[in-house]
Symmetry: C2
Subunit: 201 residues, 2 copies
Amino acid sequence: MWPESFRRVVEQLSRLPGVGDKTAQRFALELVLEPALALELGAAISSMPTGVGRCHKCGNLAERVEGRPPECTICLDPRRNNKLLCVVGRIQDLLAIERSGAMRGRYFVLGRLLSPLDGVRAEHLPTAELITRVEALGVEEVILATPPSVDGEATALFLARELAERNVRVSRIASGVPHGGDLEFSDQITLGRAIEGRRTF
Amino acid sequence: MWPESFRRVVEQLSRLPGVGDKTAQRFALELVLEPALALELGAAISSMPTGVGRCHKCGNLAERVEGRPPECTICLDPRRNNKLLCVVGRIQDLLAIERSGAMRGRYFVLGRLLSPLDGVRAEHLPTAELITRVEALGVEEVILATPPSVDGEATALFLARELAERNVRVSRIASGVPHGGDLEFSDQITLGRAIEGRRTF
């Protein structure tokens, strides 16, 4: 009972992460009622694939420029500390760490985590690229910032072993009770880690 | 620190209802990682304003066809009951009622509800268009299906008064405890209505 071009927008929108049929329908209705938004959003989305690529050095988002491989603003920034390399699973995690302002070194985006259940095994990780990057920058410390989940821990453990033979310090981000978090409602693994990872006051 | 065309997509996406900066960013990242989706979604959204309009009879979504005003599938369907007209606030509500399968008559979408706080007064409602529609169809019963909220009730009351002089029965959708709902967690207004609106078993 829906017009064909409306149905097509709902179908495509529901392919976005966390968007079900009802949400897609709500978005599409908003776009029908606001044709100016539809035209601007449509044009912006259509032109993104030619405008944005992945940095050939670290995997972060990067502006595409004619004639040379994409390179992100972090890799292009000469004030960043080459001795510190932060390894993350996804671009989202890189953006989150950047927002914290606590990391002034370089990054490396894995793009995936070890996940035997999903068929992601060691050979699917960009380990060789990571090692090349460590050597090219002259990195002294690699911070493994994969999430404190089963897959994230397995990935960190695997990379720590691969990097053990290199002349580089390997560290892992702290896991514990989050800022503003309530001890009463923290799960036992988190609390266990908070105790184990305690620091002298 | 973001590529310009990525930033633009995030900005436009965050204008969708219920989408904040973080959700917009997550959608945009998905579109970067899936360029095929970006191209299809961008094209679908861009072409919607020329493909979809509002039905000139009822305000529902309608396919735009060259040379004549848009008319929706419900208004075009000869099997629908002209004697029953269901008045709703928004297209979403029409779609929800259609999904229930309980309404086989025609519709009229108001597009807004009376809301003195937002500056929507009686003269902003399409009352004349509604009456024209009632007369053109030869409607015998108007079902006021605006939501059971303050604005929805005010709108229903206003329209009921406007229609009182016409030779037409006016009804209001039932308000009470929803199917599968728990009495313990129903608010007192809903429970009050469920008792008042009780029906003989």
